[in-house]
């Protein structure tokens, strides 16, 4: 046999043996390995991801796979059973094309959404009527609201985005925003609002930073306390849906998400509000009643 052929065969044999050996080595540890996947809302993703990392750190061999993809993806994937958890910014009932039957809702957190404007606008408060007028395109220049003479640039989230649905439902009282530019991520929205004179949009509390100006509505400031007491109406639940009642690792992980430690430490940092802190709860139809969501 020629040398080169010999070398080829040796390589093949070594690879096969190594592969087999590796497979053998794997089977020793794999018995207690488990993995589940959560997919969906990009808003909820950092939270679940952070929690999963902590959970994995505490429980060896556990692997929780957290992916984005949007609420629509989360709901349709959980509906089809492709994943164990579907993250959504919306109630399953609110989403067209989803059959909520058989899906179990786990409200993990509450997120407040606030309008933000570019710093140049110098407006810190708007009435609900003004807000509606702005977003439906009736008011097109800030000077109509006593501000500087700058045309208003509306920036929306993409259609179907949870933040947008929440904002239209509770901020605009069900009015639909006029057709305007759309961005499909909060980061981009913030970036655009901060750099575009006269821009107005909305983001969840977690995304507010110094580069943009949050706006009070009817004198109510967008704070977590105001959300807890439903004085700030533009908020929504962050849901994790399971297909049927959760079992096994999914159940354990959901419990972990809901426990005090996570809810108090992680949530604050990320700008989410713990469901436990809520004084009011809301059904998918929008009916508000006192009491936490628990």
């Amino acid at each position: 046999m020629r040398r080169r052929t010999l070398v080829k065969w040796i390589i093949v044999i070594v690879v096969v043996i190594a592969g087999f050996g590796a497979y053998e080595a794997r089977s020793k540890t794999a018995t207690n390995q488990q993995s589940i996947t959560a997919v969906g809302s990009t808003a909820l993703q950092p939270l679940v991801e952070a929690a999963s990392e902590e959970y994995s750190a505490e429980h060896a061999g556990i692997f929780i796979n957290v992916q984005g993809g949007g609420s629509g993806t989360g709901l349709s994937q959980i509906e089809s059973g492709a994943v164990q958890m579907g993250n959504s910014d919306l109630f399953a009932q609110e989403k067209e094309g989803i059959n909520p039957k058989g899906l179990v809702d786990h409200k993990i957190a509450v997120v407040g959404v606030t309008p933000i404007v570019n710093d140049d606008v110098h407006i810190k408060n708007l009435s609900t009527r003004q807000l509606i007028a702005i977003f439906t395109g009736k008011i097109t220049n800030w000077h109509q609201l006593g501000g500087p003479h700058i045309p208003i640039t509306l920036i929306n989230r993409s259609q179907g985005s949870g933040t947008r649905v929440t904002f239209e439902k509770y901020g605009l009282k069900g009015h639909e925003s006029a057709v305007a530019q759309e961005q499909d991520s909060s980061g981009t929205v913030r970036q655009i609002v901060s750099s575009t004179p006269g821009a107005i949009s909305y983001v969840s509390f977690g995304y507010v930073n110094k580069s943009v100006q949050p706006v009070s509505i009817d004198g109510v400031r967008p704070t977590e306390t105001n959300v807890m007491h439903n004085r700030w109406k533009i908020w929504s639940y962050e849901h994790i849906y399971t297909r049927g009642a959760p079992t096994g690792l999914t159940k354990k992980f959901l419990q972990y998400l809901k426990n005090n430690h996570i809810q108090t430490t992680l949530f604050n940092k990320l700008g989410y509000i713990s469901v436990k802190d809520m004084q009011y709860q809301r059904t998918w139809q929008g009916k508000v009643s006192k009491g936490s969501g628990e």
Partner: protein, 309 residues
């Protein structure tokens, strides 16, 4: 008899013939695999995209001529709000404008690289263009957002978001494609054309303009069309700077949208099988068909302009 022995030797299938069969099958199966994938994607998009019309009963007319895009709702006049015209127009405008802006630059650069200073061209421009292909569109988008949009806003007014900004970003993004393909087609022009022209007393510029570019025209057109195809399919970067509003663009600095930007933005937020989702897939189908048209154009140009080497 010796001849029969020879005949037998010649009749026996040699190892070489088996190699050939093997190789033929191997490469054929690779091609078939690709074909399967291509067909898979095309069928996948077509079934999804066509269900808008056949399952959700949206009329082609509403889809291609409507100007209001809000699938799942009705327009004030009562039709389904699935008008894709603004996106189609937007896509076309940015693509064509980007091609118009890029072409002179790309050709100029390519000519520089092949005719004027081949050494420097190969040393600097070639690696740089290859590098640019690898920059993620997000990065292009963000540079567009932080450099191009303010520039357009300050120079041309408006919010800065719009077709013009999209054009500028795409211009840079498709430049490498057009340049490298144009360079290839210029290099394919035989050296002796240049010599013949110079020997007839033409200046360097006359040679480039009247002979080299003319001989390379089909290749250059192909390059442009490929650049346009790339522009047409580009999503993330354009989405960030074009404003992404499903409105008929009334000028170059008003927010508009493209097929891909709406498609990309909406995909995650809609539920598979819903009208909203189907409508997005219809946009993908339009893209696919457009892409087909671009390709047919390339082939047409290629066949018409092909010259023997």
């Amino acid at each position: 008899m010796q001849n029969q022995k020879l005949a037998k030797q010649l009749m026996k299938k040699s190892k070489t013939a088996r190699y050939e069969r093997f190789g033929h099958l191997l490469s054929l199966s690779a091609l078939l695999l690709i074909m399967a994938i291509v067909l898979g994607i095309i069928i996948f998009i077509a079934t999804k995209g066509l269900s808008t019309f056949f399952r959700d009963n949206i009329s082609f007319k509403d889809f291609f001529t409507g100007v209001i895009w809000n699938p799942g709702t009705k327009t004030p006049s009562g039709q389904q709000a699935v008008g894709a015209l603004p996106m189609i127009v937007g896509s076309f405008l940015v693509t064509i404008l980007a091609a118009i802006v890029s072409t002179p630059f790309a050709i100029g650069t390519a000519v520089y690289m092949t005719e004027i200073s081949p050494k420097r061209g190969a040393k600097i421009l070639q690696p740089v263009t290859e590098l640019l292909v690898g920059i993620p569109s997000v990065v292009y988008g963000f540079i567009g957002l932080s450099v191009v949009v303010p520039f357009v806003r300050n120079t041309f007014g408006g919010s800065g978001f719009g077709i013009l900004s999209g054009t500028f970003v795409l211009f840079v993004m498709i430049l490498p494609t057009i340049v490298s393909m144009t360079v290839d087609s210029l290099k394919a022009v035989p050296k002796y054309y240049r010599q013949a022209s110079l020997a007839l007393g033409a200046t360097k510029w006359q040679t480039i303009w009247k002979v080299v570019l003319r001989a390379a025209t089909p290749g250059i057109l192909t390059a442009i069309v490929f650049g346009m195809a790339r522009a047409f399919g580009e999503a993330l970067a354009v989405q960030m700077v074009i404003g992404n509003a499903a409105l008929m663009p009334h000028n170059l600095v008003s927010p508009a949208s493209t097929l891909t930007s709406v498609l990309t933005a909406g995909m995650g937020n809609t539920v598979m099988g819903s009208l909203q989702n189907d409508a997005l897939w219809s946009l993908a189908l339009v893209l696919l068909i457009m892409s087909l048209l671009f390709n047919l154009m390339v082939h047409f140009i290629g066949r018409r302009g092909a010259f023997k080497k």
